[in-house]
C-alpha cells in the first residue's frame, strides 16, 4: 500500500489551471524567484502521481526549487505552454510531454534546441531510437527522452496449462493467442481473453500500435489493405474468445483480479494493480506478434526547455537529474513509467514492479520487436483519429459488418481528417511529404 500523500506546497496546490480554454494565466508570484523553476508536465496529472513527483522523485534535486505543475487534462498544460510562448511571458522552464505533443510546440517555436545539452549527457545510455525520435525528423534535438510507457500482456498463471501446443508464452503470435483463448473456453466454458474496449479503455491504442503494424507493417497507409482485412478477420476470431464484458472494461486490472479474465493486453499503468495485489498469480509477457513482426507501442515522454525560459541553467540541471539511473528507477517505482535507458532496470524494485518490468524488457528485447508510436502531429484532433479507429473496431468486431466496406468507409474519413490536418505519416508508416493517406 502506498503511503498517504503528504500535503503539497500551497503554490503547487493552487497551480492547477482553472480552465482548459486557451488563455494565459498569471503564474503564482513565487515564479519570479531565480531559485525557482517551473516544470510544466502534460503527464503525471493524477494527484497521487503529482505528489510522488514532488515528494519523492524531485526531492533530492538541489539545482532549483521546482514547481511541478501537471493536470489530469494534458491540454491544459499544453495550452499553457503555447500561450506563454505566444505572449512572451514565459514562466515555465522545463516542459515534459509525450512525443506526439512536440510537433505543435515546435511549430509554435516554443522550444530550445537541446543539442548542446545532449552533448553534456552523451555518456547516458539512452536508447538510440528514442533519441532519434527526439529530433522530430529535424537536425535539432527538441527533447531528451524522459520516460516511457507501454502495453504488455498479463497472464494469469492458471491459463498457462491451456497454452496451445508448441507455443512459447514469451513469443506468442496472434493466431496462438486465439487458439489459447479457444483452449481455455473449451476447458472452462468461459471466455477468458480480455481487451480494454470500455468507454475509456485504450482499445484504439492496441489497434494502432499492435494489431495494424504487426499485420500490415503500417497503420494509415495500409488501413484498408488486404493485410488489414486479414488482421481484422483474425482478430474477430480471437475476439470470439474474449470475455463479452470486454466492452465495459476501461482497464484490465479489475477483471484480471476478479478472475473474469485470464489473459489481457493493456497499458502498463492499467494492469499494475494486478501485480501489486496478487503478485504471485500473474506474469507479464510480450504482446503477440503478427506476420510483420512484434510491434509494440511505446509511449515516450520527453523533456524540453522553453525558449526564453527564466531559469535555463536550472532546467538543464533538472533534465540531467531526471535521466540519471536512480531517478529513472524511482520513476518506474513511483509512477509506473519505464526508463528510457538501455542499461536495463535497476534491481532495487518492489516485486510487483519487477514482474511487470520483466515483461516490458522481454517485449523490448524480443528478436522481432519493433516500436510503434502514438499518433504524431494530430494535436487536438487526436480524439477524432482515435474515434475512427474505435468505430472501425466497433463496426467490424461488435456489429459484425462487412470488413472491406467498413475499412473503405473509415479510410475515407481517415483521409479526410489527415488531409485537413496536413499531417505527414509517422512511424511505422513510411515517411511522407504530404498528408498521410490510406491507400
Amino acid at each position: 500500500q502506498a503511503p498517504a500523500p503528504t500535503p503539497a506546497p500551497a503554490a503547487a496546490a493552487k497551480a492547477a489551471e482553472p480552465t482548459n480554454a486557451p488563455q494565459p494565466t498569471v503564474a503564482p508570484a513565487s515564479a519570479s524567484s531565480s531559485q525557482s523553476l517551473i516544470f510544466l508536465a502534460s503527464q503525471l496529472g493524477p494527484v497521487e502521481e503529482q505528489e510522488k513527483m514532488r515528494n519523492v522523485i524531485l526531492k533530492d534535486f538541489t539545482g532549483a526549487e521546482v514547481d511541478f505543475i501537471a493536470d489530469a487534462n494534458e491540454n491544459v498544460i499544453l495550452d499553457r505552454i503555447l500561450a506563454e510562448s505566444k505572449t512572451g511571458k514565459v514562466n515555465g522552464s522545463v516542459v515534459g510531454a509525450l512525443h506526439g505533443a512536440f510537433p505543435n510546440l515546435i511549430a509554435a517555436n516554443a522550444l530550445e534546441d537541446l543539442t548542446p545539452l545532449l552533448e553534456k549527457l552523451k555518456d547516458r545510455p539512452i536508447v538510440k531510437e528514442f533519441l532519434t525520435l527526439g529530433k522530430m525528423g529535424t537536425d535539432k534535438q527538441y527533447y531528451i527522452p524522459w520516460m516511457q510507457a507501454t502495453y504488455i500482456m498479463v497472464v494469469n498463471k492458471k491459463a498457462l496449462q491451456y497454452l496451445p501446443q508448441g507455443a512459447n508464452v514469451d513469443a506468442l503470435t496472434y493466431q496462438q493467442l486465439g487458439e489459447w483463448g479457444k483452449n481455455i473456453a473449451t476447458a472452462t466454458g468461459e471466455k477468458k481473453l480480455g481487451f480494454p474496449a470500455g468507454p475509456t479503455g485504450l482499445m484504439h491504442r492496441l489497434t494502432q500500435g499492435y494489431l495494424y503494424p504487426s499485420y500490415t507493417g503500417g497503420l494509415v497507409t495500409t488501413y484498408r489493405s488486404d493485410d488489414a482485412v486479414k488482421m481484422w478477420t483474425d482478430f474477430k476470431a480471437i475476439w470470439q474468445y474474449a470475455n463479452p464484458q470486454s466492452t465495459t472494461y476501461n482497464n484490465m486490472q479489475d477483471p484480471l483480479l476478479s478472475g473474469d479474465v485470464w489473459v489481457a493486453l493493456d497499458h502498463t499503468a492499467r494492469v499494475v494493480n494486478a501485480f501489486k495485489n496478487q503478485p504471485d498469480d500473474f506474469i507479464a509477457v510480450p504482446a503477440p506478434a503478427g506476420p510483420k513482426g512484434r510491434y509494440y507501442m511505446s509511449v515516450i515522454a520527453g523533456l524540453g526547455i522553453m525558449k526564453g525560459a527564466p531559469n535555463k541553467a536550472g532546467a538543464e540541471a533538472l533534465i540531467d537529474y531526471l535521466t540519471q539511473p536512480a531517478q529513472q528507477a524511482a520513476t518506474v517505482r513511483e509512477v509506473n513509467f519505464y526508463p528510457i535507458l538501455d542499461s536495463g532496470l535497476p534491481t532495487d524494485l518492489p516485486p510487483y514492479v519487477k514482474t511487470e518490468s520483466d515483461g516490458v524488457l522481454k517485449q523490448a528485447r524480443s528478436a522481432d520487436a519493433h516500436v510503434a508510436l502514438l499518433p504524431v502531429g494530430l494535436g487536438k484532433k487526436g480524439g477524432d483519429f482515435n474515434k475512427i479507429m474505435q468505430d472501425t473496431f466497433t463496426r467490424i468486431v461488435l456489429k459484425d459488418e462487412d470488413i472491406k466496406k467498413v475499412l473503405d468507409d473509415q479510410a475515407t474519413q481517415l483521409n479526410a481528417l489527415l488531409t485537413e490536418l496536413k499531417t505527414p505519416c509517422w512511424s511505422p508508416d513510411p515517411v511522407s511529404t504530404g498528408a498521410c493517406q490510406a491507400k
Binding site: 474496449a197 468507454p199 475509456t200 470475455n243 463479452p244 464484458q245 465495459t248 463496426r395
Partner: protein
C-alpha cells in the same frame, strides 16, 4: 380573479424580470447553440450536426435513449406510485420505511454505477449468490454485449433504482396534499384500489405526476454514468455520446450538437407533459 389594477401588476414585475431572463436564460442557451452551429471559421455550419448524424453510434444512441425512456419512466412511475400509496396509508413504521426507501436518492450517479457494476459483473454478487444457491452452475453474463436484452434489463433496474426514490418522494408529497375526502368518497362509492388509483388518485395527482415525469425524463436524458458503467458504449445514449465527444474526442462542437438535440427533445417532451397534465381553466374555475 383579480381586479384590474392587480392584474396589471405582473407585467410591471415582468419588465425587470424579462431582462434577467434574457441575460441569464437565453444567453447561455444561445451559447450552446452557437457551439453547435458555429464552424471553425466562426460562420454558420451544419457540419457538426452532419458529423453527429453520420456517427456510427448516433442511431443507436437515439434508439437506446428513447428505449430507456420508454422502459424506465413508466416502470418507475408505477413502482413509485405503488410505494407512495403504500406509505401514504401511514401504517406503523412508515417513516422508517420511507427513509430506507429514499436512501438511493443520496447515492451519486457515479457510485451507483460502480456499485451496480460490482453486482452484475461476471464474478459479481448476483452471480455469486445465484451460484451458491445452486440456481446457476456457471456465471451468467448479464453484461455481455452479445446479450443486449440482458444488459438493457440491468440498466433499467439500476437506473430505476436510483431515481424511483425521487419520484416516490414527489408523488408522496402530492398525495399528502390531496384532501382525504376524495379518497374516502372513492372508497365509499365502491372504487377498488385500482379504480380509485386510476379515476381519483392519478387525476388529482396530476401536478405531482407532471413534476415527477419532467424530472424523471430530464434525469433519463441526462445521466449516463450508470449506462456507461454497465454497458460501455455498446448501449450508447445521446448524453453519453455528447460526453464522449467532449471528453474523449475533444470536440465540444459535436458535443454541443448532441446537447442541442437532447435539449430539443427534452423541451418537446416537457411541453407535452405540461399540456397533457394541465389542470384546465374550467376545472380550476377560472373563467
Amino acid at each position: 380573479m383579480r381586479s384590474k389594477v392587480e392584474s396589471a401588476l405582473p407585467y410591471g414585475l415582468l419588465a425587470p424580470t424579462l431582462l434577467v431572463v434574457v441575460l441569464l436564460i437565453v444567453v447561455p442557451i444561445f451559447q450552446a447553440f452557437l457551439l453547435a452551429f458555429q464552424g471553425s471559421d466562426g460562420g454558420f455550419t451544419l457540419a457538426q450536426f452532419q458529423k453527429m448524424v453520420h456517427d456510427t453510434a448516433f442511431l443507436d444512441a437515439l434508439k437506446f435513449t428513447f428505449l430507456l425512456l420508454i422502459f424506465i419512466v413508466p416502470l418507475q412511475i408505477i413502482l413509485a406510485l405503488a410505494m407512495a400509496l403504500l406509505i401514504h396509508k401511514r401504517f406503523r413504521g412508515h417513516s422508517i420505511f420511507l427513509y430506507i426507501y429514499a436512501i438511493p436518492l443520496a447515492i451519486s450517479d457515479l457510485a451507483a454505477g460502480i456499485a451496480w457494476l460490482s453486482i452484475f459483473t461476471e464474478r459479481g454478487y448476483l452471480n455469486s449468490i445465484l451460484h451458491s444457491l445452486g440456481i446457476i452452475d456457471k456465471p451468467f453474463l448479464f453484461l455481455s454485449y452479445q446479450n443486449l436484452p440482458a444488459v438493457f434489463g440491468t440498466i433499467v433496474i439500476a437506473e430505476s433504482w436510483r431515481a424511483t426514490a425521487i419520484v416516490m418522494v414527489i408523488l408522496l408529497a402530492g398525495l399528502e396534499v390531496i384532501p382525504r375526502d376524495y379518497f374516502e368518497a372513492a372508497d365509499v362509492f365502491g372504487a377498488t384500489a385500482l379504480k380509485r388509483t386510476l379515476f381519483v388518485v392519478l387525476p388529482l395527482l396530476r401536478p405531482s405526476l407532471q413534476n415527477a415525469l419532467i424530472i424523471r425524463t430530464i434525469f433519463a436524458f441526462q445521466t449516463f454514468s450508470v449506462v456507461l458503467a454497465l454497458a460501455g458504449r455498446v448501449i450508447p445514449v445521446l448524453t453519453g455520446e455528447a460526453y464522449y465527444w467532449y471528453a474523449a474526442n475533444r470536440n465540444p462542437n459535436v458535443a454541443a450538437a448532441y446537447a442541442v438535440l437532447v435539449m430539443v427533445f427534452t423541451i418537446f417532451i416537457t411541453i407535452m407533459y405540461f399540456r397533457l397534465l394541465k389542470t384546465t381553466d374550467a376545472e380550476a374555475g377560472y373563467d
